[in-house]
């Protein structure tokens, strides 16, 4: 029997963090007068990854995304998308990306079909013939096919958000940058947006910001957490959830555990073991320095003791919300100490 605190892993291609990143941001700063909107931001988006971009309100997520798309200019730092600089290669970069703004705006007199046709035209794509099938497909996929020929004026927030997603993906971009893609949607709409993103991940790299940590936990394989314009943490979602102070494995055993504890304590990858008796079972919380080695050996070493039965075993992961709140709180403490 296996116990695990990880949710089922989404079926996705494994992002190659070592490959040339689609987005590479180093030490990015953006100043508005005396206000530092970004202050040394780092961000890496590997190819074919889904990266959740997390941060409290006003932390600089939207500013960073506007710089990535060339709508705003950086004060300092390095920014590259596909190895190109958005300030000098804007149209070339934007031909390969789809962008959804936090509050998407459109020409009110156009219908969704006309809006998407305009987008295709702006991408230098044909808008007639087979493109019409593509428009129908996208409108259907985002759930506004029934309103495809009504002017956008009069659309609800949710419909606008769906159209925003449609216009970002209609040209089949290599990279989707989405600022709060599910913010204006009801739970059903939110679920369908996540489903759309899941469907796109096989061939599209996705960078999305959100306040809904559960969404990130469900679909993002990497996370970047920022606060006050700085990167607090960046890495694989599972690694981040496992915690930066060492990964923890949880064992639930029946029988005398003293020998197992002694054996495990001698392993070079063991940092510490917490023993928690619980009725007729005992929980061992094993913190390790090398998760791969522990994953390969921990269970095997435990089972070497014939008097012990393993009832449950799993790698511990904090909820992303816990990790996020801890990071923000720690950053707040650091800032307070710095200003004291």
């Amino acid at each position: 029997m296996t116990r695990t605190t990880n949710p089922p892993a989404p079926p996705a291609p494994t992002p190659d963090a070592a490959a040339t990143p689609v987005v590479s941001v180093r030490n990015l700063s953006k100043r508005y007068g005396a206000v530092d909107a970004l202050d040394g931001l780092d961000l890496t988006v590997p190819p074919r990854s889904v990266v959740g971009f997390l941060g409290p309100n006003g932390s600089g997520k939207t500013t960073a995304m506007r710089i990535l798309t060339g709508l705003a200019r950086r004060t300092d730092g390095h920014v590259a998308l596909f190895g190109l600089d958005p300030e000098t290669d804007g149209p070339r970069i934007r031909s390969r990306i789809g962008f959804l703004a936090q509050e998407p705006r459109f020409y009110e007199h156009l219908t969704p079909r006309e809006t998407l046709a305009l987008c295709l035209g702006l991408h230098g794509r044909p808008t007639g013939g087979r493109a019409s099938d593509r428009l129908d497909e996208v409108l259907e996929r985002v759930g506004i096919a029934d309103a495809a020929d009504r002017p956008v004026r009069g659309f609800s927030g949710g419909q606008r958000q769906r159209l925003g997603i449609a216009q970002a993906m209609v040209h089949e971009p290599e990279l989707l940058i989405m600022d709060e893609p599910a913010a204006a949607l009801d739970p059903a709409g939110r679920a369908s947006v996540l489903e759309i993103l899941q469907g796109l991940r096989a061939r599209t790299t996705i960078l999305f910001s959100t306040h809904i940590l559960d969404d990130v936990q469900r679909i993002a394989d990497r996370v970047t957490v920022i606060s006050a314009g700085r990167t607090l943490a960046e890495g694989a979602t599972d690694d981040l959830r496992a915690g930066s102070d060492g990964t923890r494995f949880d064992l639930r055993l029946r029988g005398p555990v003293a020998e197992v504890v002694r054996t495990l304590e001698q392993e070079p990858w063991t940092i510490g073991i917490e023993v928690v008796p619980d009725g007729d079972a005992t929980d061992l919380l094993v913190t390790v320095s090398d998760p791969d080695a522990a994953e390969a050996q921990l269970l095997r070493r435990t089972l070497e003791d014939p008097e012990v039965r393993v009832v449950a075993y799993g790698r511990h992961a904090s909820s992303l919300e816990r990790v996020f709140l801890d990071l923000i709180a720690r950053d707040g403490d650091v800032r307070r100490e710095g200003s004291a």
């Binding site: 506007r66 709508l71 934007r94 031909s95 705006r105 987008c119 035209g121």
Partner: protein, 256 residues
């Protein structure tokens, strides 16, 4: 999909220009504008034609001459004012509505964004405020004068009267790119156009440097007179080209 699109200083211009021109062709805007300008520039000719009919007593010129003067005097100024009114919110409105950011998140250059607007307004106004009223005006005046007016001269005069419209569009886009207030853009555009006449009396050299003299020059040319000076035409056309380019240069440095 097709092959790799090209990306240059005018990326996205064609699609944006078509989009900007669309309301002039596919909605009532074009017809309404054509009706307004025809009413002003052709209908306005009725005033001298009716009022002076009895006074002219068959003398050559007479009402037709006055109607020609009125047609070109109005044609060089009023459509230019209309251009300022129509275009003054073009940039600022899109920035405030957020649609500028949306369009510029596509593979569209800043130059294309501005120049497509300028070009669509230019085509729309040249057709509805100049081509249609001038054609009808020529027909009416030829009928009144009992013989066709010299078409080449009339067309040249109509062209001279149209140049201030292009200049005013360029000025409006330029000021609209720099200032954050629609009212200020409108006020500056109108003040420059209307105040130019007054300013010319104080600084005569201004007459050679802008569009303010073109209405009067167009009347002379239409009536068979000489081209007094090429400089107002050249300066106005140069402004019609340079002002949008200055707007592009300013817009490139801005955030949306």
């Amino acid at each position: 999909m097709t092959g790799e699109p090209r990306f240059g200083p005018l990326s996205g211009f064609t699609a944006l220009f078509a989009s900007e021109l669309r309301p002039w062709i596919r909605t009532r805007l074009g017809w309404v504008q054509a009706a307004i300008w025809t009413a002003i520039l052709v209908g306005g000719m009725a005033i001298p034609l009716v009022a002076l009919r009895d006074l002219s007593d068959g003398a050559p010129g007479g009402p037709a001459l006055s109607a020609t003067e009125l047609h070109f005097a109005l044609g060089a100024l009023v459509p230019a004012i209309g251009a300022v009114i129509l275009a003054h919110g073009a940039i600022l409105g899109e920035r405030q509505a957020g649609t500028a950011a949306w369009i510029l998140s596509k593979p569209v250059s800043r130059a294309s964004f501005l120049l497509a607007k300028w070009a669509a307004f230019a085509v729309g106004l040249l057709v509805t405020a100049h081509l249609i009223p001038s054609t009808l005006g020529w027909i009416v005046l030829s009928t009144i004068a009992d013989e066709p007016l010299a078409l080449g001269r009339f067309a040249a005069a109509a062209g001279m009267a149209a140049a201030p419209t292009l200049w005013a569009l360029g000025l409006t886009l330029f000021v609209g790119t720099l200032l954050p207030s629609r009212g200020a853009v409108l006020a500056i555009g109108l003040a420059v156009l209307v105040g130019g006449d007054v300013a010319m009396t104080l600084v005569p050299a201004l007459a050679e440097a802008g569009p303010w003299l073109l209405g009067r020059m167009a009347v002379v040319v239409a009536q068979g007179g000489p081209l007094v000076s090429p400089w107002p035409i050249l300066a106005t056309l140069a402004g019609a080209i340079v002002l949008p380019l200055l707007a592009v240069a300013a817009f490139r440095r801005q955030e949306v």
